[in-house]
Symmetry: C2
Subunit: 116 residues, 2 copies
DNA sequence: CGACATGGGTAGACACTCTACCTGAAGTCG
DNA sequence: CGACTTCAGGTAGAGTGTCTACCCATGTCG
């Protein structure tokens, strides 16, 4: 896959993607990044240096909590879990995202509107 | 409209929105901002301090050119016009945007089977 | 005249991502 | 055993782009 095929993340979407991933259950950092990359069909790549700062942010805001455990490969790994506040935040961010996509859509496709 | 109703722009989308706006023809800064705000149904607000730096960026990259003129109100105003390179850039950014929205969609709406 | 509205602009703070490093532990293999 | 690789977590600093809060110039109108 060439460079041009890989999109750079839009600022602010990473938190939402992480929260969404954790709705499937607790996961450790690497697994979250892999999930996002795989599920997006390799379109999104979560860089190492973006992932961990994001996880720290989310912990500070009490949207996720971490706990040490062991990965499938028997490595020590931090498992992150969504809190109730995290679920509410996810709902907010998701709704914001939808509104934003729709708003931008109105600008980008001014003719074809009102079509789902 | 409350604060929560106004979305903050996602980084990188402003350039695309400006270029798209200029596809309708030359316009000056304030008119571009008004167009984006109106067309988005007041969902997007292009701040003053984001608009002009963006217009400078786009000029430097030769995607738009500027020319002094007079506005409807007989004020001096800089009219920005899309260059051929600007059109190509718009096409690139638009296609990137679509792919990104689709990729994020795959993560946010995973076949709608949620609860185990 | 002076207040206000319009249009363009900049400085600095802030937030987020990226590249490029580092640590430590658990398997692998000569 | 010991060197090496892989996995997992982490950080520093640069780069980018937006936002808040200012500034200035020029028309319009009371």
């Amino acid at each position: 896959m060439s460079d041009e095929e890989r999109l750079t993340l839009l600022q602010g979407t990473l938190d939402m993607l992480i929260l969404r991933t954790l709705r499937w259950g607790p996961a450790h950092g690497q697994a979250i990044a892999r999930f996002i990359q795989d599920t997006s069909g390799d379109a999104l790549l979560v860089e190492h240096g973006s992932l961990y700062p994001a996880l720290q942010r989310l912990q500070q805001k009490r949207w996720i909590v971490a706990e040490w455990g062991a990965s499938d490969n028997n490595r020590r790994a931090k498992y992150y879990r969504l809190t109730p506040a995290g679920r509410r935040q996810l709902a907010r961010e998701h709704s914001n995202w939808e509104r934003l996509v729709e708003a931008i859509g109105r600008i980008m496709h001014p003719a074809a509107q009102d079509k789902p």
